[in-house]
Structures are given as structure tokens and as C-alpha cells.
Amino acid sequence: MTNREPVFRRGHRVLWRRSYDTVLVLPPGAVSPLSLSRAGSALWDLLYDWSTADELARELGVESAHGVDAALADMVRATVVTRQE
């Protein structure tokens, strides 16, 4: 069976830096960087390669992927994460 769940990865043109317990990302065209929350930063660390929301939730040790879905949707809207169907 083919896995048809969308997969996510950091936008490969997105510039970012780690700063203590957070990650700063500069979306294309934005004037200043966004500061990810601690949870968002943990998610960012896992987004170095394509993953589904379920896989990311498992890696983060959370039972439901709902929170991860919402965070990914925000990151996709901010154009710092790429979604592929």
C-alpha cells in the first residue's frame, strides 16, 4: 500500500540559527526572523528530512499528532517548512 500522508521538511532556502533553547528562522521576504517556541524548535530539529506528522509525533513522544499538525500548518503558512503530498 502506498503511503499518501503528506510529508514535511524544512524549506531548503530558509536561513536559521539556534539561540539557546529556541530556533530563529527567517522566512523568505520577511523583514525579521521568527522565534520558534521550545516545542517548535524541537520539531524544527526533526524536520531535516521528509517526515509525516505521525512520524514526527512519535519522535517527539506525543500521543496525538493534532498539535504537531497545527504547528506544521503554521510553519507551512510562514513558508519555512515545505509540504509535499
Binding site: 530558509v14 540559527r17 539561540s19 539557546y20 530563529l24 527567517l26 525579521s32 526572523p33
Partner: protein, 368 residues
């Protein structure tokens, strides 16, 4: 463990700048600094662009801080990293624009050092963009930046000076970011004795936002770090000394090639001074090149030329006028001198005053 009260701010800063280097004495600061000393340290950390190293010092538990102090250090680092990100993006735009117009570049210092020298680019802060371009391309490069809304800080003193003699040109972009376009590593004699064309023969690439940028090759990068540390300001910036130490200790370059280029450029004294300053200030063993530097003696002539770049005797006019001997022929010397003494561009009063002071410093002694 060390009591914070037993250390001066200068010692504390040096420890911060040296954090993580092999062989550095492990001196943990067991109790937080009092408010006055913390404030003084933080101001110096910002000035010396050491916020990444301060965060590393705190993260490795080598310096105890209060929750308020931690918040201030984090805030300073975020500010520095936000600037670094915006500068990195500006760099990509500028390099892309130059490439479209056939202008080759080598990224110098800040961004290149952050990405090539350190395990995490967040350790290395920077406040501007430094790009090497060929002398022949410099006027076009300036023109492109000005056409994009930038403003050149100092005008070219005479037509043709940029192509043949200048260290570089500084353009401030519309949002206020400084772009230093370099033709050589230094003004005056040390810059004029270099072979800038050779800097484009090799390179080391790094990835930035999915694009490939070219930095100097390892040996030339080390030389530039040394030139910048010693000749770039009256007192070497600690982040510049850290760059020198980081490269010397990692040893990812051919020391013989470094010294052979330095000899050709008349810059052995600069390399020796930078390596000694880095190893002394940061209390590290700079490896084989450190041993070479410790055994080298400066000549009287080298000391005289270096005096124009360092400490209280630093003077840009002295540097430029002393460079005359490095200009290859009589005609070129005349052009160089004419540009220095009788610039056709509008010069500020301040600039003229510096020239007069420099001239007096060079010739004044003979009339006393």
C-alpha cells in the same frame, strides 16, 4: 572553581572568547557577578561580538548566572543572531546580483567564518558583510549597490584609485546594513604588497540557504584573519583573535603555504603578531605556527610600519603615505600620491584633518 570577584572584566571576557578551545584552563565562575560587573561584561560582550561564546560559556555551566542575567544574555544573542540572519540573506542577494553581472566574489570574515570555522554558526556574530572583488570589478560593484539604493561612505579620491590602490569601498544599503567591498586585506603598504588576483585562484565553498558561496581557501582565510586582527583596528577585537586561534588550533591549513604567501606579501610580521596576540590573550597553544611566531623577531622597519596600524599611533593617513614604497613604478607612485594629497572628490573636513595629522606624523620629526 574561581571566584568571580577575583577576576577582572578583561579576564572574564578573554575566558568567554576562549570557551571550548582545547587546552584552555577550566575556570568555572561559581557565583553570579554582581549587577555592576555583569552590566560591564555584557556591554563588552556586545561590543566584541561575543554573545555566542557567552551563551556557550553559560550553557557549559562555566559561568553561574542569575535568571535575570540569563534572560539578558539570551536576548543579546537573539538580537545578534537576528542581525546575522538578515545579513546572510542580504549577502545572498548581493552575491547573486554580482554573479549576474559577471563579478566574482569571495566571502570574507563574518558569514564565512561563522559557517566554515565553527561547529555551530550561532557562535560567531557579525555586524556587516565583507566581500572580496577584483579591483577591475570594484567600480561596477559599487555602482550596482548604489543603484539598489545604497550610499557609498567615502568617495573614490581620484578616478582609477579603486581599481589600482584602494583597500576597498564601503556601501551602506538603504535599510542601513554595511557592505565592505574589499580589493585587498589592508590599506597602505600591507595591502599594496599583496597579490589580490591570486586570492581568486582557490576557494572553499559553503552552503547558505541552498546556495553555494565561495570563501577564501583555508590558507588565505587564515592570512586574512591575521591581517584583520592586527591591522583592522587599534586594539584587536576578541572575536578576531578567536578566529585566528580557532584556525591555528584546528590546523586545517598548510602552514608552509601560509608562510610562503606571507613572505611574498611582506606580511610575516602581521601573521606572527596576530598568532602571538591570539595565544597570549586567549591563553592557548597555537600549535606549530605558534612556535614559529614565538621565535620570530620583528625588524625595526616592520615595527615602524606596524605602528601606523596599532594602538595610539594608528593613523589611516600614515598607513596610506607609508604605502608609497610598495607602489611599483614612478608613474603609479605619482598617481597614488596625487590621489592622497589632492583628491578630486569632495572630502570631509574630518578626513582632511586626519591627512594633515598623518603628514605631520611622517615628516614632523625632521623639523623639530
Amino acid at each position: 572553581m574561581t571566584s568571580a570577584t577575583a577576576m577582572t572584566i578583561t579576564d572574564l571576557l578573554a575566558d568567554v572568547a576562549a570557551v571550548g578551545l582545547p587546552g584552555v584552563a577550566d575556570r568555572e565562575i561559581e557565583s553570579p557577578l554582581d549587577d555592576r560587573r555583569w552590566r560591564s561584561l555584557l556591554v563588552s560582550v556586545a561590543d566584541q561580538r561575543l554573545s555566542g561564546f557567552l551563551m556557550e560559556t553559560i550553557s557549559l555551566a562555566e559561568m553561574a548566572v542569575t535568571p535575570e542575567q540569563l534572560a539578558e544574555a539570551v536576548s543579546l544573542h537573539r538580537e545578534a543572531m537576528s542581525l546575522a540572519l538578515v545579513l546572510d540573506r542580504t549577502l545572498l542577494e548581493v552575491v547573486g546580483c554580482f554573479a549576474e553581472h559577471g563579478i566574482a566574489t569571495r566571502v570574507l570574515k563574518g558569514s564565512a567564518h561563522a559557517h566554515l570555522l565553527y561547529p555551530d554558526p550561532a557562535l560567531r556574530s557579525f555586524g556587516d558583510i565583507d566581500l572580496l572583488v577584483r579591483g577591475a570589478d570594484l567600480p561596477k560593484a559599487v555602482e550596482l549597490l548604489v543603484a539598489a539604493g545604497g550610499r557609498r561612505r567615502h568617495p573614490e579620491p581620484r578616478r582609477g584609485f579603486d581599481r589600482r590602490f584602494t583597500k576597498g569601498a564601503c556601501v551602506v544599503t538603504a535599510p542601513g546594513y554595511e557592505i565592505d567591498l574589499h580589493r585587498t586585506f589592508a590599506s597602505g603598504r600591507f595591502g599594496l604588497q599583496m597579490d589580490p588576483e591570486a586570492l581568486f585562484e582557490r576557494s572553499e565553498a559553503y552552503d547558505l540557504g541552498g546556495c553555494t558561496l565561495e570563501a577564501l581557501a583555508a590558507e588565505e582565510r587564515f592570512l586574512h584573519a591575521c591581517y584583520h586582527a592586527v591591522l583592522g583596528s587599534a586594539q584587536p577585537r576578541l572575536s578576531a583573535l578567536r578566529d585566528v586561534a580557532q584556525m591555528a588550533i584546528a590546523g586545517r591549513f598548510d602552514s608552509d603555504r601560509v608562510l610562503s604567501i606571507a613572505e611574498r606579501w611582506g606580511g610575516e610580521c602581521v601573521v606572527a603578531k596576530a598568532v602571538l596576540a591570539a595565544s597570549t590573550t586567549l591563553s592557548v597553544d597555537a600549535g606549530p605556527i605558534g612556535s614559529w611566531a614565538a621565535g620570530r623577531r620583528e625588524t625595526d622597519s616592520e615595527q615602524r610600519v606596524l605602528a601606523g596600524y596599532m594602538g595610539d599611533t594608528r593613523n589611516s593617513a600614515v598607513q596610506a603615505l607609508a604605502g608609497i614604497t610598495a607602489v611599483p613604478n614612478t608613474r603609479a607612485r605619482l598617481d597614488y600620491l596625487l590621489a592622497l594629497v589632492l583628491p578630486t572628490s569632495t572630502s570631509s573636513e574630518g578626513r582632511l584633518r586626519r591627512w594633515r595629522r598623518g603628514w605631520r606624523a611622517l615628516v614632523g620629526g625632521r623639523h623639530r
